[in-house]
Symmetry: C2
Subunit: 149 residues, 2 copies
């Protein structure tokens, strides 16, 4: 037994740097997708202030473009199957549904941005509620948000 | 004195809804510019993970575009002279310098994004350190960031 324990210790010591490297890589993957989802949250917040007339709409087309651009990057950030952060395991368990929704989100926000450039911001704003229907996805695929100070 | 106090109370009651409305409007202004600066922070974080090879570079041009777009919206968000949040009063005390730096930031990030589209991502990445020299401005114009959980 003592001998076995000794072997286990050696194995553990040898494996631990690999595990640590894997864990750091997982953290990078989680951080990266949270940077993207937080960007969407911040841009949706800015847009919401404009829609509620709290802030003038000078920047509105740039916000729509930033949302469309960021939406186009989001699915790629979830491709590595690394549960953690605010993502529920259902993201990968129901990948067909999740990726379909993410692609639709990217497509609708791209159309909204295109409308803004071709027909003006007022026409685009009528598409916002449909394009940014974040809640239905979050209810299924996101854990309750961590409290922030 | 009793009479004067009574008048002050009436005045205070009459003024308080106006003050509350002004305070809510100030909060909107501060929230809006923080949405924009937080977007830059999140996108710079995502880009940083790609630059350090922690994450593949599939999305890199979209990140450069999102940073350039958001940089183009930032100065407008500081135009209302509403101190608060993480902005130091120096933003408005030294407006000529602050706005010059913000315009340079918008210009350099736009050039970086243009380089990405015209010459490819590797050429653009060589411009990142110069374009995203956030720290020099933050040292002068931003209060120490609030701790987040």
């Amino acid at each position: 037994m003592r001998h076995s324990a000794g072997i286990l210790c050696v194995v553990a010591l040898a494996v631990s740097p690999i595990l640590t490297a894997a864990s750091a890589a997982d953290k990078d993957v989680i951080d990266y997708r949270e940077h993207i989802m937080n960007t969407l949250n911040e841009q949706a917040g800015a847009l919401g202030e404009i829609l509620s007339n709290a802030i003038p709409d000078d920047n509105v087309i740039a916000h729509l473009d930033a949302i469309a651009l960021t939406a186009s990057t989001a699915l790629k950030a979830f491709e590595p199957k690394v549960p953690g952060g605010e993502a529920k395991p259902e993201v990968w368990q129901n990948w067909a549904d999740f990726s379909k929704r993410m692609n639709e989100f990217a497509q609708k926000t791209a159309e909204m941005a295109k409308t803004a450039h071709q027909q003006g911001k007022d026409a685009a704003l009528s598409e916002v509620l449909d394009a940014l229907s974040c809640k239905s996805c979050h209810d299924t695929y996101r854990k309750e948000k961590k409290k922030q100070q």
